[in-house]
């Protein structure tokens, strides 16, 4: 198995706060990795660092063996990394259909000027139906439930045609039925299109059936890794969660 995404000794400090402390882990090709850790342990920070929202103080990020630490965010997305936000960030003034359209727009200005605005409508429609939003294309974000907003986030990530998707608390605030649907969708995407996922979730019940392997971090540091069942019984993990 080759490593698709690799985080090598990443340290990130915000003033005096060490958010990530020499953190290393990797995602293998064809794998779904769960990322666990108590509140404030650095899960979202490592996602932000992988996406290039800010540079790490030290360490490297590798994707398909290539060092992407210094690349801008849009470049990483085009290489095949996508993410969803913990708090959904829909574009407030447009319908969810148009929101997803941003992910399909050509990065070239010339092609944007000459191409048809409706060129990718079929693709957008298919993705929105895929995530379970049929019949809601022309709705605005303020009309949607949290569950649907998370689906929009997922649709936007999938529309960038990714190789790996970083899912930040994709199950938070969802009903059991909604969790099941999203879980099914992720499995299907994995089987049919070979997508990899890194899933951050507080909901261990939702995480358990989905992930192949779990990495646990606390205070920005690597604590443990292994299959889910083994991890939940790990002494160090218990200590991190329960003190």
């Amino acid at each position: 198995m080759t490593k698709l995404l690799e985080v090598q000794g990443v340290t990130k400090k915000f003033g005096g706060l060490v958010a990530l402390n020499d953190l290393s882990f990797y995602v293998e090709e064809g794998e779904v990795l769960g990322l666990m850790g108590p509140n404030g342990s650095g899960k979202t920070t490592i996602f932000n660092t992988i996406m290039g929202d800010f540079p790490p103080d030290s360490g490297r990020i590798l994707f398909k063996g290539e060092d992407i630490t210094k690349l801008p965010t849009y470049h990483r997305v085009r290489m095949g990394i996508a993410r969803t936000y913990q708090v959904p960030r829909p574009l407030k003034e447009v319908t969810i259909f148009d929101d997803v359209r941003v992910s399909t727009v050509s990065p070239s200005i010339i092609r944007c000027l000459t191409g048809k605005v409706t060129a990718h409508d079929a693709v957008i429609k298919k993705i929105l139906e895929d995530v379970g939003l049929s019949g809601r294309f022309s709705m605005y974000p303020h009309e949607l439930t949290m569950g649907d907003l998370r689906r929009v986030e997922l649709a936007k990530a999938l529309a960038t045609n990714p190789r790996i998707v970083l899912l930040d608390e994709i199950f938070a605030g969802l009903t059991v039925a909604e969790i099941e649907e999203i879980d099914k969708l992720l499995r299907r995407k994995r089987e049919q299109e070979g997508l990899d996922f890194v899933v951050v979730s507080h909901d261990l019940k939702a995480l358990a059936p989905l992930v192949d392997r779990v990495v646990v971090i606390d205070f920005g540091q690597f604590i443990a890794e292994g299959p889910f069942d083994q991890i939940v019984n790990d002494e160090k993990v218990k200590e991190a969660y329960f003190g």
Partner: protein
């Protein structure tokens, strides 16, 4: 297509025959309005779409106007001074606006936040001081440059020139903003990080919008100064001129291109007729009031109001048919 554009075609037709029916003073006012509309569209292309508010459009307009005026000016310089024809100085002026803008404004656009606005405001003031203080024998200093050559003479030919320019700019910017480029720029205003995370280099699109905006501002500035046949730092770099541009775009409707045209005409005429009652600081006060009112109640300006009215008529028609 014709059906959709019928109101525009009617408006263009009316505008074309208008100078035959109105007195000369109104024609002159219409010329001013057309130039203000060009400046407002230029501002809208950058600030109305991306949300990066420019306080530096007078800088872009001024650079273009000064370059063309300086190179085509015939009197008052020590030799050796080359006098170039307008068909050379006008493109040079526009190029100077784009070049100067890219040199001084673009770096601040890489950073999110109000830095672009602050930098653009600072450079407008810096250029103002420089023009007054450095080499006044060349720039005309505080008095400016008088007796510039004109592109065409007379109110009516100038009216058609200004109108033609305005429509050319409007059509050009309209096509850009109705393409995916306009869409990306609008989404940048809503949430730039999210657009970046969609795989789009937001800086590239912002830069494109800025270049278009600067070129339009430069084009308007050059033709405007040759229409006035004089150029003074006092009008070119004043806060009032800046506010005229921004308010015209805001009351017309930001992020619409067509709105600012209407804003330009409306503002020019309302100011003219209110002149006896509103002078000096009161004008700025009225601006502030109008801007606050519009931003709170009608963020899409006249464009939004027009859309509401159209929607109302359409609904009524549908109800009538049922």
């Amino acid at each position: 297509m014709i059906r959709r554009l019928r109101w525009w075609l009617i408006a263009i037709a009316v505008m074309c025959v208008l100078p035959l029916f109105v007195p000369m003073s109104i024609t002159r006012l219409l010329v001013m309005a057309a130039y203000l509309a060009i400046f407002a569209m230029s501002w809208d292309m950058m600030s109305g779409y991306t949300g990066y508010v420019s306080f530096g459009h007078p800088f872009l307009i001024g650079v273009a106007a000064y370059v063309s005026a300086f190179l085509s000016h015939q009197e008052g310089f020590q030799p050796p001074h080359i006098v170039l024809p307008l068909y050379i100085t006008i493109p040079l002026g526009v190029a100077a606006a784009v070049g100067g803008g890219m040199l001084f404004f673009l770096p601040s656009m890489r950073v999110r936040g109000p830095y672009f606005s602050l930098v653009s405001l600072a450079f407008m003031e810096i250029l103002h001081r420089l023009i007054i203080a450095i080499r006044p024998e060349y720039t005309g200093g505080d008095r400016g440059l008088p007796a510039l050559p004109a592109v065409v003479t007379g109110a009516v030919p100038n009216y058609y020139l200004a109108l033609g320019l305005m429509f050319a700019v409007a059509i050009g910017l309209w096509f850009v903003t109705r393409s995916d480029v306009g869409y990306v720029l609008k989404t940048i205003r809503m949430d730039e990080d999210v657009v970046e995370a969609s795989g789009i280099s937001t800086y590239k699109f912002k830069r494109f919008a800025f270049i278009l905006s600067a070129a339009t501002a430069g084009l308007g500035g050059v033709f405007y100064t040759h229409y006035l046949q004089s150029l003074g730092p006092r009008w070119a770099f004043s806060a009032t001129f800046l506010l005229d541009i921004i308010i015209a775009a805001v009351i017309g409707g930001m992020g619409t291109i067509t709105g600012p045209i209407f804003g330009g005409y409306f503002l020019t005429f309302i100011l003219e007729y209110l002149r006896p009652y509103l002078f000096g600081q009161w004008r700025l006060f009225a601006y502030a009031l109008a801007a606050i009112f519009i931003v709170i109640y009608r963020p899409k300006g006249f464009y939004g109001i027009a859309q509401d009215v159209r929607g109302w008529f359409q609904r009524r028609r549908i109800r009538g048919e049922v």
